[in-house]
């Protein structure tokens, strides 16, 4: 249940939120920045965190959820240990990113924005990383790969535990 009442069990979340909110002097205008920091910290935005933000920053829960569900940077569900991002920008498109996405999707057996059962991989698409000369580009964790051939991809995914 999305709860308005403060949960006594979630001190881990409430202190993390307190730090994040405090670093922006509890400024309501910085709601998006606060959520970005929390997303970075936890890898996703659990319900408890959003409820804490609403409470501590004194903004309606509806506003917090509206923002958390609107932007691609935020995930309302836990994500895999390895994030695989395929660039679908125009330049990569013209150089074959849809085919690359197909290949990766088939290899990982995931559709974009799905996470594998074993929580190993999350597949995402991104609109332009600005590495157009290297297109098509796929980023695995923070490593960029240019025009990866199938054997190379097999190796990259194989070694990602």
């Amino acid at each position: 249940m999305v709860s308005k009442t403060k949960s006594k069990k979630s001190t881990k979340f409430s202190s993390a939120v307190r730090r994040a909110v405090g670093s922006y002097q509890k400024d309501k205008d910085m709601l998006i920045q606060i959520l970005l920091d929390l997303q970075s910290m936890f890898g996703w935005l659990p319900q408890e965190v959003l409820a804490e933000v609403s409470e501590q920053l004194e903004v309606p829960i509806t506003q917090v959820y509206q923002i958390a569900s609107y932007y691609k940077a935020f995930s309302l569900m836990p994500r895999g240990r390895h994030i695989v991002r395929v660039c679908m920008g125009t330049a990569c498109q013209v150089r074959g990113s849809p085919q690359l996405l197909n290949i990766i999707s088939a290899m990982l057996d995931l559709k974009p924005y799905e996470t594998s059962r074993d929580m190993r991989f999350t597949l995402e698409t991104v609109n332009c990383l600005g590495c157009c000369a290297m297109g098509p580009v796929v980023v695995v964790d923070d490593a960029y790969h240019s025009k990866p051939a199938t054997p190379a991809l097999k190796k990259i995914f194989g070694s990602a535990k």
């Binding site: 935020f74 330049a91 590495c131 157009c132 290297m134």
Partner: protein, 643 residues
């Protein structure tokens, strides 16, 4: 970095002299491009290797310097390094090349031939950066500074003359005079709208209400465009200086820089630049002792293209969701918290110090009647020299694509160049001699946009291109208004159907109907322009639409559902390369046995077509015709003595 807070124009000039005095112009400096793209080629490691090697060879200190810089623009040839003062440019530099570069070029001034750029036509090796055709035909007024600056060290910017324009504005000009100069320069917004910057500044200045705000829009969302990223990463002080000058002219004391979340390096470098600028006295209270105060905050985006629209961006700055607002009063009059707010693009702000330093007349001496100055483009797609280029307005598209871009790779035929991102359109061959100019491009059914310039060849399907942009906007639409949300939903379905052979009579008329209602009735510019790619491709390539709908054929053989891959049994030599590369093991065959593709397993990834050696060219793409039956199993390869 020098640490004194400057409190007069004189002190700034003294600091500049001090910095320059410590820099011997004859001392070799090697700049290593560490823009995001070169970083993915490993350029940070290369920089570190240079730093270490210089120490190892005992050349550090006053003898030689290694400097990491922002993007140089020649992305296709990265990692790029340039050695000053000779301006020797090495391309595609590898980690192993570093010791040799240090011992030969840095220590002894020797040029290493194999690392130079090789002209693909003449085979000539070109040593000097400004003589490389890619750079020679450009006019790198704004972008050129990137090569000289470590964005994390404000001293480099000051050494180049940075903040002299700010000093001039604060001490030798009144705010009205600064405004007048920008108006006279005819500078037009570089973010896509092309609105006269001076008029926007004036409107904000004259609008009643305090405080007034100035905003940098670095939410560059057009896929394929990364100019703003490279400026913000590579020369954040250049943008800051322009912003502070603008704030002075407008009467604003508070500014915002909105950076896409997808640009973490740009964000970090901006924060660092602000910190250093504050320490120097270019920001904060009593700037350079002038009595003018100005502060700036940085906001990160969170992954929404539509947040780059001005009312949406300002909503996000207010902590609300970044979606456009119903507004018939311009944001320059009523913006953030209802106050006058002047929003300009990164490149627009970056032009301001140049105009203040060299004057409006100088700025007007470049460009066309309606479009003055230069524009930075990201030249990408099916083009040999992919990268960021800065050219004077008025250069033709043909010159851009061929003289600078080096034409189309693999000898393919040019089909169209897409400009203006999801709000723009395609420009076919017959219009390539059009000068680059805001109004000229709009007349062709496209627009200048932020600068993304995607070159497409004979293998690019125009219907698929429209489908791609419509899908992009459909995903990025905020969903508030019916024409955009539902219009894009339906356009996406129709275009996807057409690409999958399910196009129907009346589809083209439905596309046009929906597009026109979107143009008329949408809440914001995302909605009113989202159908442009569809309208533009219909204008110039209607035959492709008709082939898809009537014949279920994709002339470019790109649409997956309409295209099949087939290995010609008379050309296959069983080299096995396609077999090894097929990701779904759809190819069958053996040594000396003709290979064939099992259609049910084929995902049309194009890999076999790309890897089949050109001298065999055994893989065919078929569209609109029946597929030949698979060969009888076990056919041996036909080998001719001579091929």
């Amino acid at each position: 970095m020098s640490s004194k807070r400057l409190s007069s124009a004189k002190e700034l000039e003294e600091l500049r002299k001090e910095i320059l005095a410590k820099r011997d112009p004859a001392k070799p400096v090697i700049t290593i491009c560490t823009g995001t793209a070169c970083q993915t080629y490993g350029s940070l490691k290369i920089y570190q290797e240079f730093a270490d090697e210089i120490k190892k060879q005992g050349l550090e200190g006053s003898a030689v310097e290694a400097r990491p810089t922002g993007c140089h623009g020649f992305c296709e040839q990265g990692p790029v390094v340039v050695i000053f003062p000779q301006e020797i440019c090495y391309v595609r530099v590898k980690l192993e090349d570093v010791p040799e570069i240090v011992s030969r070029t840095l220590a002894r001034g020797e040029v290493i031939e194999r690392l130079l750029y090789e002209d693909p036509v003449t085979g000539e090796r070109i040593a000097k950066d400004p003589e490389i055709p890619f750079y020679k035909n450009q006019m790198r007024l704004v972008f050129g500074n990137n090569r000289h600056i470590n964005p994390r060290d404000i001293d480099d910017y000051i050494a180049l003359g940075g903040y002299a324009a700010l000093s001039r504005a604060l001490f030798q000009m009144t705010p009205e005079q600064v405004l007048e100069e920008i108006k006279r320069s005819n500078l037009r917004g570089r973010g896509g709208g092309g609105f006269p910057t001076g008029i926007k500044w004036e409107t904000t200045r004259n609008a009643p209400g305090e405080p007034k705000y100035v905003v940098v829009n670095c939410d560059e969302g057009d896929p394929g465009a990364y100019m703003d990223r490279s400026i913000m990463e590579g020369n954040p002080n250049g943008v800051l200086e322009g912003l502070i000058i603008g704030a002075y002219a407008i009467g604003s004391h508070e500014g915002f820089i909105y950076v896409r979340q997808e640009y973490p390096i740009a964000y970090e470098n901006t924060i660092q630049a602000i910190r250093q600028a504050e320490e120097c006295g270019f920001l904060g209270k009593n700037i350079l002792g002038s009595g003018f105060d100005f502060e700036v905050k940085v906001h990160r985006g969170a992954g929404a293209f539509v947040s780059g629209e001005s009312t949406a961006l300002m909503s996000a700055i207010e902590g609300k969701v970044g979606e456009p607002k119903l507004k018939y009063i311009h944001t320059a009059v009523s913006g953030i918290n209802g106050r006058p707010s002047c929003l300009n693009n990164v490149e627009t702000w970056a032009n301001v110090p140049l105009i203040i330093n060299k004057g409006a007349d100088w700025f007007n001496s470049t460009g066309t009647d309606g479009s003055k100055g230069t524009k930075i483009f990201s030249l990408v797609g099916k083009v040999n020299n992919t990268g960021l280029v800065e050219v004077p307005m008025g250069m033709t598209l043909r010159q851009l694509i061929y003289d600078i871009g080096g034409g189309i790779p693999k000898g393919k035929k040019f089909k169209a160049v897409q400009t203006g991102g999801p709000s723009g359109g395609v420009i076919p061959e017959q219009h390539l001699d059009t000068p680059i100019d805001f109004d000229e491009l709009t007349k062709l059914g496209s627009m200048m946009g932020s600068g993304g310039t995607v070159v497409m060849d004979e293998d690019t399907c125009m219907v698929d291109t429209a489908r791609y942009f419509i899908s992009f906007c459909c995903e990025e639409s905020c969903g508030k208004c019916i024409p955009c949300r539902e219009g894009l939903r339906m356009l996406r379905e129709i275009l996807t159907d057409i690409c999958e052979g399910k196009g129907q009579e009346g589809d083209i008329e439905a596309i046009e109907d929906i597009a026109e209602v979107m143009q008329d009735a949408s809440l914001c510019a995302l909605g009113t322009t989202a159908a442009n790619p569809a309208l533009s491709t219909l204008r110039y390539f209607r035959d492709e639409y008709e082939a898809h709908i009537k014949e279920k054929r994709c002339p470019a053989k790109a649409c997956k559902v309409l295209t099949s891959y087939y290995i010609d049994p008379e050309k296959c030599t069983a080299c096995r390369i396609c077999f090894r590369n097929c990701p779904t093991e759809a190819i069958h065959g053996d040594k000396n046995i003709v290979h064939w593709i099992e259609q049910e397993k084929c995902i049309k990834c194009n890999t076999c077509f790309e890897v089949c050696p050109p001298r065999f060219s055994a893989v065919r793409k078929i569209s609109g015709e029946p597929l030949p039956p698979p060969p009888a199993p076990g056919i041996e390869v036909i080998r001719e003595k001579k091929r």
